[in-house]
Amino acid sequence: MNNSLVVVVLASGVLYGTPLLYAALGELLAERSGVLNLGVEGMMLVGAVMGFWAVQRLPGPSALVLAAGIGVAALAGAAMAAIHAFLVVTLRANQIVSGLALTIFAGAAGLSSYLGNDLKLTGSPARHQFQEVFPKSLQDLPVIGPMVFGQSLLVYASWVCVILVALYLTRTRTGLNVRAVGESPAAADAMGVNVAAYRYAHTLVGGAFAGVGGAAFSLSITPQWADGLTGGAGWIAIALVIFAFWRPTLCLLGAYFFGAFTALPFALQGHGVTVAPELFQTLPYVATIVALVLVSSRAARLRFGAPAALGLPYVREER
């Protein structure tokens, strides 16, 4: 039963959707404050490599080392995001160009692979990795076993993050301010909200989430370091935020959908069905391109519920 196509694909959706979910939550926070961050892929890769480095080098019990690895990955992602924030908030550079430059700089065959080589991280598996937390008997329950109980702590933590981000944005004063900054920075500024500080903070936290998403690859899914480990997940995460209409809960569904979709062709092959591999491998990216095209047009953006000031630098004197 649990080896049936549907269950395998759904359980894979949760597993492979988790890094997408983390990265998308981060991107959502940044975008809700008006900062479009196309550097997610680069931030994920730097997070993946640095988180892996911490786990390989730090002594101590498994749980602590893994926690430290996630912490380092988050810091590394935030550090990359700080570059983006400085360029687009302080210097008011074009957000699209800065984000793209960061992904090229940090991505595969860039900073992340340099770090991987220089810190000698290839050639051995992760010393510790996130493993299933529930006992085998629960994992073997039909259908919900593999989907709900067959997952690692990273998955459950991501559910908590979804709830926290959703509550933060809709139920707290600061969350309201974030949305104000993203919708109308001038009005927020007049209210006494520090636009630059909000944008910095949310871009950095967004980068930290992307770093954790990267570490989900290097510490859980394929617990080792290899060049370009994330395989374009950062781009899918950006598209995901758009498809989720900037809502955290929809991000979760979308992430699992994309995750399941990437696992589907392999599960189908396992059942003797061959579909043109090009089709399956390109579809997530085709969807990404469509989403990016949509978001690049202002009219379409507003229709989908995008923050009105997304991608626009804020200059107080220009009101």
């Binding site: 080896n3 008011r92 160009v97 960061l102 290839t122 617990p223 290899a226 599960a267 396992g270 626009l312």
Partner: protein
């Protein structure tokens, strides 16, 4: 609201990113010695330290450097894309003064052929291909022999008689390897079935893991692979499924479940060809290494391989070396049970380079 961009910020950011990216990408090709030595270059499709195919070649390069010392200056380019950029990489290697270029992935062949025509005084060495010319040699090894032996270890380990095999692209090289693996497994587990899943990538950890996962879900109780990373092995270790690797000894990724792997030892061939170029005796060739000359071998066994299996493999290895046994001798049947190679006939290396059908017991399509 009018948009105003700070004029300097944008070019500044771009320039910084470009400079850094360039610095990093040239940094990946490390040069070993600086004297007026013969320059030799290697091109890898993956990272030089992929724990698989490319790493085996890089070990060969380092062997050449260690043996010839200051007489050669070896360099490598990693993560070279198979396509138009291959040509650019070859051109830049030639501009840097490299006199012999080893290309180690099948997809580099068109660019190598074109470059060999354009630069007659540079020597080109193409692994796994078929396009030989006056200044372009072809080399490979009978990986199928080692893979047959590793398949025997997989066959001995399976209880259900279903073995999963993660494969990259449906090309003759991989088809003959999958066939050899199946024949080896059937030698120790008569009637064993080999289920294939194609990833359509030489090295993609995520896809390899997904393929491995689907194979186990489809009933495989042993895994093997022809792809380049040890991701399959890590999954096998986590599920307690015995695993046969490929290209390199990757037992550290699955210490409990590691069985063995067919491995390549490229060093001696590389040394011979670079030495020949130094002496002015370099000649083109179609070299097909074997268990006998040591280009092909088996990685050390893991704890799950029994003494009985080891002895059986050792006997088969000896028979392969002295020519008493050949896995592609008839009778051979294809997936549909049709007799492809009658008794008394055998597939030649040329046949194997064009093979497009899978042997009996393999589940999956030869078209990917």
């Amino acid at each position: 609201m009018t948009k105003r961009k700070f004029g300097f910020a944008l070019p500044l950011a771009l320039a910084a990113a470009l400079i850094l990216a360039l610095g990093v990408s040239t940094g990946s090709a490390r040069t070993q010695k600086k004297a007026a030595a013969l320059k030799a270059a290697w091109m890898y499709v993956g990272p030089h330290n992929d724990n698989g195919w490319s790493q085996a070649h890089d070990k060969g390069r380092l062997y050449v450097q260690a043996q010839l010392g200051s007489k050669v200056e070896t360099t490598y380019k990693e993560l070279v894309p198979e396509g138009p950029q291959t040509t650019q990489v070859i051109e830049s290697l030639i501009r840097d003064g490299n006199k012999i270029i080893f290309a180690t992935s099948f997809g580099f062949q068109p660019a190598m052929v074109a470059a060999a025509k354009k630069y007659p005084d540079v020597k080109f060495e193409m692994a796994t291909g078929t396009a030989q010319s006056a200044n372009m040699a072809e080399y490979f090894g009978a990986g199928e022999d080692g893979i047959y032996l590793s398949g025997m270890a997989a066959g001995a380990a399976t209880k259900k008689g279903v073995i999963g095999y993660v494969v990259p692209f449906p090309i003759p090289e991989i088809i003959r390897h999958a066939n050899a693996f199946a024949l080896g497994a059937q030698a120790t587990h008569p009637g064993a079935r080999i289920r294939l899943i194609w990833t359509n990538a030489w090295l993609d950890l995520g896809k390899e893991k997904k393929a491995a996962q689907s194979l186990v879900a489809a009933g495989a109780d042993v895994l093997g692979q022809n792809v380049d990373s040890p991701a399959t092995g890590q999954f096998a270790e986590s599920k307690g499924v015995p695993w046969v690797g490929y290209d390199s000894d990757a037992h550290t990724f699955a210490p409990k479940q590691w069985l063995t792997a067919s491995i390549y030892n490229w060093g001696p061939y590389y040394l011979r060809k670079v030495k020949a170029l130094l002496n002015g005796t370099w000649k083109t060739n179609f070299y097909y290494g074997s268990l006998k000359d040591g280009m092909i071998g088996l990685a050390p066994y893991g704890p799950k391989v029994s003494a009985k299996t080891k002895a059986a493999i050792a006997r088969k290895k000896q028979a392969l070396i002295n020519g008493k046994f050949y896995e592609f001798a008839g009778p051979l049947y294809d997936q549909k049970g049709k007799l492809r190679v009658p008794k008394g006939k055998r597939l030649t290396v040329k046949d194997l380079y064009a093979i497009n059908w899978l042997v009996r017991g393999v589940i999956g399509s030869a078209k990917g």
